[in-house]
Symmetry: C2
């Protein structure tokens, strides 16, 4: 269990999780597929189908037990284990990420921010001092870092990725607009903001309201 979930369903789970946490925050203990759908912008039967891929069972007449559904989703999404991560590239975006509160809600704990620009090295950003990339291998090794968030320029992204992988990182969250080539055992998520922009632009030009 946890695997074999259709990709589109998997992309909806985090949204359900957020809605559930919010509802829990309001002191509720049950939530129906209808309510979950409303909160997440999904039809109720889609919610039920998605949740059928996961080991839960709702109670007819009441809905799903919020607490246990949260635990299950966190487990499926791999959020029940916290991963230490570094941010590589201390530009504005890198700084924004390194400061972002709420990564802990999604299983990540940022421990350091690297850059290769001597001007930036040493600067304080929130809790971290920007550290030179030269010291990255040692850091990653010593602290057993498994994840890196990459906010470096496109033309050095592959090189940085190669280095990170050599140092032992097995997960990359890449914001550089390049397709990274990585070995089998490494997981990459390409976060391509241009896609969002292009979508917005397309829908504004040609109509249709939901560019999600």
């Amino acid at each position: 269990m946890g695997t074999n979930i259709p990709k589109p369903a998997l992309e909806r789970l985090p949204r359900y999780l957020r809605a559930l946490r919010r509802e829990r925050g309001r002191g509720k203990s049950f939530m129906s597929s209808n309510a979950l759908g409303q909160a997440s912008g999904v039809e109720e039967f889609q919610v039920r189908k998605d949740l059928s891929h996961v080991q839960v069972s709702g109670r007819p007449g009441r809905g799903y037990r919020i607490e246990s559904l949260i635990v299950t989703l966190e487990h499926v999404l791999g959020l029940d284990e916290v991963r230490d991560a570094v941010v590589v590239g201390a530009g504005r975006l890198g700084q924004a990420l390194s400061q972002y509160p709420g990564f802990e809600n999604f299983g990540f704990n940022i421990v350091r921010l690297f850059d290769n620009d001597p001007e930036k090295v040493g600067q304080q950003v929130g809790d971290f001092k920007i550290t030179h990339v030269q010291q990255m291998p040692e850091w990653i090794n010593r602290h057993g870092i498994s994840v890196a968030m990459m906010t470096v320029p496109a033309d050095c992204a592959q090189e940085v990725a190669d280095q990170l992988i050599k140092d032992g990182v097995t997960g990359l969250w890449n914001f550089a607009p390049v397709l990274l080539r990585v070995p089998e055992h490494v997981v990459v998520r390409h976060e391509d903001l241009a896609i969002g922009l292009a979508q917005l632009s397309h829908h504004m030009a040609w109509g249709r309201s939901d560019a999600d």
Copy 2:
């Protein structure tokens, strides 16, 4: 034409566009579906199918004319018309966005950065001074702004969106983790970074290398 393109195909077009621009930058004038696929991480028949939704025709034996394919894709994606945009929320992410070079490649031109924090108002961020949200309505009206990028806290996002829409904005690029309710004529794109994180986390926990 331009509409009626399947959503998944539409999400791949920006990647093709980027690959084409890069290739053009190298002085090439033709590119095959195979090369495009390689550069974008897509199978070649998928590329051809995607391009079949668009008014182009490649030349058997050569590939697609880069220049004209670029023009066509830009048109389909609505990038041939530049839209003025504002950024609302001058936190780290808002600042990062307002500085991002390369929006012009995707049809947007950021003209102002707003916030409601008196501490921030007046600060200089790159080319812009942070302006108080009180002045937003007037700005939007006077300059005919159609797009807003929202990097505000979740709990005021809906309120901010309502205001923006009342002022005449018809496109929202929303980074706040809430589902915005908007009238028919407004286009919203929800950019939910948590989905990417959760995906990465899931794939690291349960295996499978491409978390794209």
